[in-house]
Symmetry: C2
DNA sequence: ACTTTCTTTTACGTAAAAGTCAATTTATTG
DNA sequence: CAATAAATTGACTTTTACGTAAAAGAAAGT
């Protein structure tokens, strides 16, 4: 039952360097345990790394990723904090919707390009 | 019929600095005309800027954006080039689909957070 | 015990994408 | 036409997100 992951295990799984994982720790995004000086990653850390890399693929900065991770930490007890959090969630959702729209637009332009390519191919085959 | 846009007009429209637009020109992404030394942007440039910023929001690098823009320039005549281009289109589509999946995943996690917040709010209102 | 492999810390380096500043030019307008 | 505003280039700086190298401690196989 493999309780811990080593750093290289995770670098191999996710295709990142040890430097990157240590950097994320420095940034306070993950908090692996220690045996002596060696880092021991648990599956919670592993899951967080997934989230981080997902954010990275979407072009979020480390700070934005940090915000998202903070959000995941679950709802706080106090009313004011709750309302603040819901505002933040709405904000992130807005950013994500914008990105989604950007993706749809780009994909549809790629579709046009593809069609144009196919048309040109057909022409070539006929031997224009 | 407003044939040209000035640089500041476009910086205002898109919320970027003049330095940024000049940077994109240096990178060969846009090619505004010149009257003397002053840049004159046409709507084609304006449209390109939109594409660039869209790519930027999605976390593409300048080089990746350049690739996308190259793709938009329309299908080439020669067969080999055509096939190469279709490969590139497929590649970009793959990246975009990954990003879209990332967005869906993140949005659905935000939904969970939101629900948790609402639940907690309800509790508070009852006065737990 | 020896070697190999992993891991650590510390510190400096770097590429990308602009920001900032200074010194000019050019354009506009009262 | 002098003044002011807007635009230019060029050089230097900054921020982000790591890369890389050095030096050394620890673990594991032979």
């Amino acid at each position: 039952m493999h309780k811990y992951f080593s750093i290289t295990e995770l670098t191999r799984e996710f295709g990142v360097s040890t430097r990157t994982l240590r950097f994320y720790e420095d940034e306070g995004l993950i908090h692996p345990e220690r045996r002596g000086r060696t880092r021991l990653f648990r599956s919670a850390d592993r899951h967080l790394i997934k989230e981080i890399l997902r954010g990275r693929r979407l072009g979020f900065t480390i700070n934005e990723i940090r915000e998202i991770i903070e959000i995941y930490k679950g709802p706080p007890g106090e009313l004011g904090q709750l309302q603040l959090m819901m505002t933040r969630v709405a904000e992130k959702r807005k950013q994500l919707n914008q990105k989604r729209q950007d993706i749809e637009d780009t994909l549809s332009e790629l579709d046009h390009v593809d069609e144009a390519c196919l048309a040109r191919l057909a022409e070539l085959r006929v031997g224009s």
